[in-house]
């Protein structure tokens, strides 16, 4: 796992160096900070998605949720004059509740995650559009919420607060996934849900928690996105973000079959994707190719990973065979003594 993450890190660094050589402005603090900001926004989404993917599920409604929750947040704060200190937790709770509903439908009613969240994708998008009657939700001119803005779009010593938030969340979620009992349960469920249940794990609750975590992080990210764009046209806001999140997780080594992947990988996957977007803009590559570059890199990354694994498995096989032969030679006398027993 750690080797895989290192490979990804290396790729990120190499791409960075190449871009910096072609256009040194890549390394300007302002550019790095801008990119870090977006890494923060998308990284939080990816971590949420990762929690669902680890259980063998998938959450396709992320993009629509970013739109719906973003619309609601902006509307609450800018139009309904609700205090943001109230609106923020409200939105988080809403995100968690939606996650819980998905989890319930999946674990209690045994529906497929793909189907449930596909319906979510359609329904939440429609709801967001209906809520604003297809209009845009945004802050009026001069409307300003200094504290909220500092928290969501501000910078600390030049580092965007969203990036700091990502780092904190990533550390916490890393510990939870890789060092806690809950995390181990999620891996077990992803590998073999039934066996996990037969070991006394309440798999339903665990899976539900994963969707709740995803909903919660998505809601947080939705607020950040809303404060970044400060304007949300519900028809297009957040479109395809679920694909970005899934792509980042997959690049980071998550298997959609469940039970595999690391949080570090998901974050690095996000970093690589955002670096690529930055690169397309900085190097003047036609933006029509943006998607193609992203798709190409993911495909190549996954291919290399796969080939790498295949080669390693091959090698392990050969060396194992050698070892065993040696071992057997050593042991050749043992069965005879056993025979005298």
């Amino acid at each position: 796992m750690i080797k895989k993450d290192l490979g990804l890190l290396l790729l990120i660094v190499v791409v960075g160096i190449v871009v910096a050589i072609i256009n040194p402005r890549f390394l300007l603090p302002i550019n790095l900070a801008n990119t870090a900001n977006l890494i923060g926004l998308f990284g939080i989404l990816s971590i949420g998605q990762a929690y669902v993917i680890i259980t063998g599920g998938i959450e396709l409604s992320v993009g629509s949720l970013v739109a719906l929750l973003g619309v609601l947040f902006v509307d609450f704060v800018a139009v309904q004059d609700m205090s943001w200190m109230l609106a923020l937790p409200l939105i988080l709770v809403l995100g968690a509740a939606i996650g819980a509903i998905h989890g319930l439908l999946i674990t209690r009613l045994n529906l497929q995650p793909f189907v449930v969240t596909l319906c979510g994708l359609l329904i939440y998008r429609g709801a967001a559009r209906f809520y604003t009657a297809d209009g845009t939700a945004g802050f009026a001119f001069g409307q300003s919420f200094p504290d909220l803005e500092f928290l969501t779009a501000g910078r600390l010593y030049g580092i965007p607060n969203t990036f700091i938030a990502l780092v904190i969340i990533a550390v916490v979620m890393w510990v939870v996934l890789h060092r806690s009992v809950f995390g181990r349960y999620l891996y077990a469920i992803g590998k073999n849900e039934e066996a996990a249940r037969y070991s006394g794990i309440r798999t339903g609750r665990m899976v539900m928690s994963a969707y709740v975590i995803c909903g919660l992080l998505t809601a947080l990210s939705a607020i950040y996105f809303a404060m970044y764009t400060r304007s949300i046209s519900p028809a297009s806001h957040g479109q395809f973000y679920e694909l970005y999140a899934i792509a980042a997780a997959v690049l980071g080594g998550f298997s959609l079959r469940g039970g595999e992947g690391s949080i570090v990988g998901a974050v690095l996957g996000t970093v690589l994707l955002q670096e690529l977007q930055n690169l397309v803009n900085l190097l003047g590559i036609p933006s029509s190719l943006n998607f193609a570059v992203m798709g190409g890199v993911i495909l190549i990354g996954v291919l290399i990973d796969q080939q790498w694994n295949a080669i390693r498995a091959q090698r392990r096989l050969v060396s194992a065979a050698r070892q065993t032969e040696a071992h057997m030679a050593d042991q050749a006398t043992v069965p005879v003594t056993a025979n005298q027993d």
């Binding site: 801008n34 209009g135 764009t229 400060r230 028809a235 806001h237 930055n278 933006s287």
Partner: protein, 293 residues
């Protein structure tokens, strides 16, 4: 590479901006000591456009002319760009930002011109159905609003506007469904550049060309063909070529320190025009010439 770069950032990929591209090219030809480019964000979304502009600023662009995806609420983002580079707006204005000037036309006025077309074509009144890509988008709203305004006090009514989320299949099906759902329609309005051709084709398939008054926007080749044929009453065209061409020159001048081109109110309006049957040939020829073909 040391030449100052000027960027024209559009709000999404669309044929509409092809004319602007030609305008940028023409300006570039006249001012070789600048690098001028036109940039498409890969999606028509605020976050992505904002990102694109931030990256351009990072890349050292000296001036940006932008058609903001959502100018009303994008204020802060635009101000951020405006504080780092010379910012102009086009297509739809963001007057409350620190942009230097706006060059473009007024969508409300364009809507009013569409009303003019309808009034002329249907002196006895009628029932109109509108079609648009994104119902919530500013340009759609302003055009619809302008048209409704212009139709006030007449017997012509804009009963409904159907959206299609820029899915052309749905755009055409919406027209077909409208023909079924409201047999008493006498006129159709295509608010986005591709809506008019879809109306044209759906009417042709249904054998109703000429029976229903079509009011168009923009200058899709099919639209111009229909106007010429007489099956489309007329179309309201903006002049993105001029926006781009004049805009680029204006920006270049501004960067050199020549601020004489900037009016006091910061508004440079290049009016939309109605292209009817009589003007269409001239307009098409002009279009071709601009594109340098």
């Amino acid at each position: 590479a040391d030449k100052p770069t000027l960027a024209f950032v559009v709000n999404g990929a669309s044929d509409f901006w092809k004319a602007a591209e030609a305008g940028v090219k023409k300006a570039q030809a006249e001012m070789p000591d600048y690098t001028m480019e036109l940039k498409y964000p890969e999606q028509a979304a605020v976050a992505i456009q904002q990102r694109l502009m931030e990256d351009l600023v990072s890349a050292g662009v000296k001036g940006i002319m932008v058609s903001a995806v959502d100018p009303k609420t994008q204020t802060d983002g635009l101000n951020k760009i405006g504080s780092q580079t010379a910012l102009f707006t086009t297509d739809s204005d963001a007057p409350k930002t620190n942009r230097i000037a706006y060059i473009g036309s007024s969508n409300v006025d364009a809507g009013k011109q569409a009303a003019e077309i309808a009034k002329k074509a249907m002196p006895n009144g009628g029932k109109c159905m509108g079609f648009v890509g994104l119902l919530g988008a500013d340009n759609a709203r302003e055009r619809i609003e302008g048209m409704k305004d212009g139709l006030k006090g007449t017997k012509i009514e804009l009963v409904d506007v159907r959206g299609d989320d820029i899915d052309q299949t749905r755009a055409k099906k919406n027209v077909e469904d409208a023909l079924v759902a409201s047999p008493d329609l006498t006129c159709m309005v295509g608010f986005y550049s591709y809506n008019t051709p879809r109306i044209y084709e759906a009417l042709r398939d249904a054998g109703k060309l000429g029976q229903i008054t079509v009011v168009g926007f923009d200058d899709d080749p099919i639209t111009l063909g229909g106007v010429k044929e007489g099956t489309i009453a007329a179309t309201v065209v903006q002049q993105p070529f001029e926006w781009a061409y004049q805009g680029m020159k204006l920006m270049a001048a501004y960067l050199k320190g020549d601020k004489s081109g900037i009016p006091a109110n910061g508004l440079i309006i290049i009016p939309t025009v109605i292209i009817g049957k009589d003007d269409v040939d001239k307009y098409a020829a002009n279009l071709k010439a601009m594109a340098g073909k």
